[in-house]
């Protein structure tokens, strides 16, 4: 059941049409019915958006929902509840489930569960290889027919270059991209963080930035050879940003994403925590792959985000159970539970004057949609166009809040940001015409 909703007098930012003005937004039958000043809407629920930003719902092209098989970490209900709280109205589910999403039946399970329990839209990403083992191609055609919007062995790189080449060629039949986790495994062997002075200080094994650059360069060469589309997951290094920028300039079909944490946090928080303690932290919640890098890498990623080299922000939401992080650093699982802090964390870039708010919103909406061509599946997604699905987020860019992991909707409490104050709040989220999240702050 969807209701008639009128969102009054917010600053409406729709990056797709470069619309940025105070306006009302009318929602009917789960779709955007009208945008304009002083709309008349009898019997509609009124939401007072004065002082708020009204934008298209965010689209996350990199979410680990852990369902099926790893529901102790997350499931489709909890993961999409977390998405709603984070302002995301669409999440693309990564296939490193148990079993892997490498065949139609798992895709159908995910879509069925999503239809029954999800707060927001779930678009599945199929595995590149059977069992994500990196040996044989999965049935990419059948996966595409079942509704997969891309293919990835994420969690692991497609390390065999020939398999990657064939995957790119084969997926191009269906005009779908391969999303690759770019990491040269021999260079990153046994690594648990970024190689640099912090890894030296902590005595932890580091992965050099070159491990990412080498893999990104390989993928670009293969995409160029195959004339196919490669999407680089979670770019984290200056050299990778530069490689993508150069490849785009010469017309290679490459797109890229960066995570909120790689755009804002450095390897130093592994040692000292996000709040900057005295004693060494060995913060397992900051253990993530790719690892948090140097300030120079962060700066390069931000510059790439600003100039469009990086098409979109993706969370790489990677929830884990408490016990998988409450252990020795070397033994801890990789990953950050990121959906619920994504907007607040990225707002640092706006608050510091490094990017404009409309640019940030673009990279969370139309950016991911265009990168993966998602409007083929959901016309109008990522925009506020009339008749587009009513996926809308209400944002308070100046509201401050403290990250309390224990209050996350996600089962994954694994964030290095516990106790950190973020400026930028998701006030409400409307997905396909339904209010799926309200923060309790000024929604009338």
């Amino acid at each position: 059941m969807t209701e008639r909703i009128i969102i009054r007098t917010g600053r409406v930012i729709d990056s797709a049409t470069k619309f940025d003005a105070i306006a009302d937004v009318l929602v009917e039958d789960g779709r955007i019915a009208a945008i304009g000043a002083g709309l008349v809407a009898d019997s509609a629920r009124e939401i007072d958006a004065r002082g708020l930003v009204v934008a298209p719902g965010f689209v996350d092209v990199h979410t680990h929902l852990r369902d099926p098989g790893l529901e102790y970490k997350e499931d489709i209900a909890s993961g999409t509840r977390a998405a709603a709280r984070g302002g995301f109205t669409t999440v693309c589910a990564m296939p490193n489930t148990e079993p892997a999403m490498d065949n139609r039946s798992v895709v159908e399970y995910v879509l069925r569960e999503a239809a029954a329990r999800a707060r927001v839209r779930v678009l599945p990403i199929g595995a590149v290889s059977k069992g994500r083992a990196g040996k044989e191609l999965a049935e990419l055609g059948d996966l595409a027919a079942a509704g997969c919007i891309a293919f990835s062995d994420d969690g692991a790189p497609v390390w065999d270059a020939t398999l990657m080449r064939r995957a790119l060629e084969y997926a191009s039949i269906f005009d779908l991209p391969i999303i690759d986790h770019c990491e040269d495994r021999s260079l990153a062997k046994d690594a648990v963080m970024h190689e640099g002075w912090v890894s030296t200080r902590l005595g932890l094994r580091g992965a050099p930035a070159a491990a990412e650059e080498a893999a990104v360069s390989r993928d670009i060469a293969l995409a160029e050879t195959a004339g196919a589309h490669v999407h680089i997951a979670h770019v984290s290094t200056r050299a990778a940003v530069d490689a993508v920028r150069r490849a785009k300039a010469r017309g290679v079909r490459v797109t890229a994403e960066a995570t909120p944490h790689h755009l804002t946090l450095t390897h130093e928080i592994v040692a000292f925590g996000a709040l900057g303690g005295e004693e060494l932290a060995y913060d397992t919640n900051a253990k993530v792959n790719p690892p948090l890098r140097s300030q120079d890498d962060v700066d390069a990623c931000v510059a790439g985000l600003a100039d469009g080299t990086i098409d979109c922000i993706a969370t790489d939401h990677a929830p884990h159970a408490v016990i998988e992080k409450l252990c020795e650093f070397d033994e801890a699982a990789f990953g950050i539970s990121g959906l619920e802090t994504a907007f607040g964390l990225c707002m640092r870039l706006v608050n510091e004057g490094r990017i404009e708010l409309p640019t940030l919103i673009a990279r969370l909406t139309v950016g991911p949609v265009c990168a993966l061509g998602l409007d083929r599946y959901v016309p109008g997604i990522g925009t506020l166009a009339v008749s587009a699905p009513a996926d809308i987020v209400l944002l308070d860019p100046s509201a401050e809040w403290v990250v309390e992991p224990e209050r996350f909707a996600s089962k994954g409490k694994n964030t290095p940001l516990g106790g950190v104050t973020l400026k930028g709040l998701v006030v409400a989220t409307i997905a396909q015409g339904r209010v799926v999240h309200e923060s309790g702050v000024p929604v009338a």
Partner: protein
């Protein structure tokens, strides 16, 4: 048992002056990377007292009587474990050795569970050796016990750093401005890391020497104090010139075959501390090695056992330093405070 107290003989390890005593606030010894010079001096002076205890006819004092020390070793180490055990026993503590061989994960019992169990059965101090960097930090956050790091992964070996500092000061007086060359597998060496912190805190001129493949990232760069300020060299013949101290590190066999260096033959040709090379150092320069030594690889037999070698003294000093550390940290526990108040250490 020789812990029997004979009142006339039993002298409490001489407490440090009140100002220094009050400067010590540590309940754990996790690393010495954040030690102040005053704290290091306090360990040094307390070690002097402990050396005096060791020199007695019956080297036993009941300073830690009623204290239970557990050595929890996830890695084998006869030398360090024995040294701590002896240090505890000389001070009258009960010492229990737990060999937690194999990783906690494969045993299915987490480190936190183990630490909590040991606390529940009455341990006051956990002396911990672990193959994972940072493990003692994790343990210290989940126990009321004092945690002493007896070596964690590649990260730190604070009592080794302290005993090396003590040994050098014993021979050189002060290490300020002295050239101290640490040669070997710096990348994988927690001993090197702890030595660098301790020595640079006192203004020593520390040079680390290793093949590029065995040097950790960032060392020698300007890191604004985030790493110890040392100089990095790859040519030992050059590095060793005019050195006051030469410390060779153990070259583990698996590194030799792990592609870090071509092999023992070339490694020993380029990086072995031998008589020819030692001749380039200052006359009478100290030779140290944290042990166990691969004689003929990182150090020649004649140098290892020569007049300039202080390797045995390092081992003896190790006991005294560990006595000092155990004594200092137990002052900060409830039981330690109670014992101190009783005034009958």
């Amino acid at each position: 048992m020789t812990t029997e107290a004979r009142p006339a003989d039993v002298v409490t390890p001489q407490p440090a002056p009140a100002s220094e005593e009050s400067a010590w606030r540590r309940r754990h010894l996790l690393d010495i990377d954040d030690f102040t010079v005053d704290e290091l001096e306090l360990v040094m002076s307390t070690t002097d007292t402990m050396k005096e205890v060791l020199s007695r006819e019956v080297p036993r004092v009941p300073a830690l009587r009623g204290t239970t020390i557990v050595t929890l070793f996830y890695e084998n180490s006869t030398r360090t474990r024995t040294s701590f055990e002896l240090a505890g026993k000389i001070l009258g503590a009960d010492v229990i050795n737990v060999a937690a061989s194999g990783s906690s994960v494969t045993k299915g019992e987490s480190l936190i569970d183990t630490v909590k169990t040991l606390q529940a059965v009455g341990a006051d101090v956990l002396v911990m050796r672990h193959n994972r960097s940072g493990a003692p930090y994790l343990a210290s956050r989940h126990t009321e016990c004092s945690v002493v790091n007896a070596g964690d992964g590649l990260h730190a070996h604070p009592t080794q750093g302290l005993l090396d500092l003590y040994t050098m000061r014993g021979a050189l007086g002060d290490v300020r401005g002295k050239k101290i060359v640490v040669v070997g597998d710096i990348l994988h060496s927690r001993v090197a890391r702890s030595n660098m912190w301790a020595l640079t805190a006192f203004g020593a001129n520390v040079v680390v020497c290793a093949p590029r493949t065995l040097l950790p990232a960032g060392l020698g760069d300007e890191t604004e104090g985030r790493l110890p300020p040392v100089r990095v060299e790859t040519d030992l013949d050059h590095a060793i010139e005019g050195a006051d101290v030469v410390m060779a590190l153990r070259m583990q066999l698996e590194r030799m075959h792990g592609g870090f260096v071509p092999g023992a033959r070339e490694y020993s040709r380029l990086y072995q501390v031998n008589a020819n090379r030692l001749a380039r150092a200052k006359p009478g320069a100290l030779v140290l090695h944290p042990g166990p030594m691969n004689e003929g690889v990182e150090i020649s037999h004649e140098v290892a056992h020569g007049l300039q070698s202080h390797v045995e003294e390092q081992v003896t000093n190790g006991v005294a330093v560990r006595m000092a550390v155990l004594w200092l940290i137990t002052r900060q526990t409830t039981r330690g405070a109670r014992l101190a108040a009783r005034g009958s250490l």
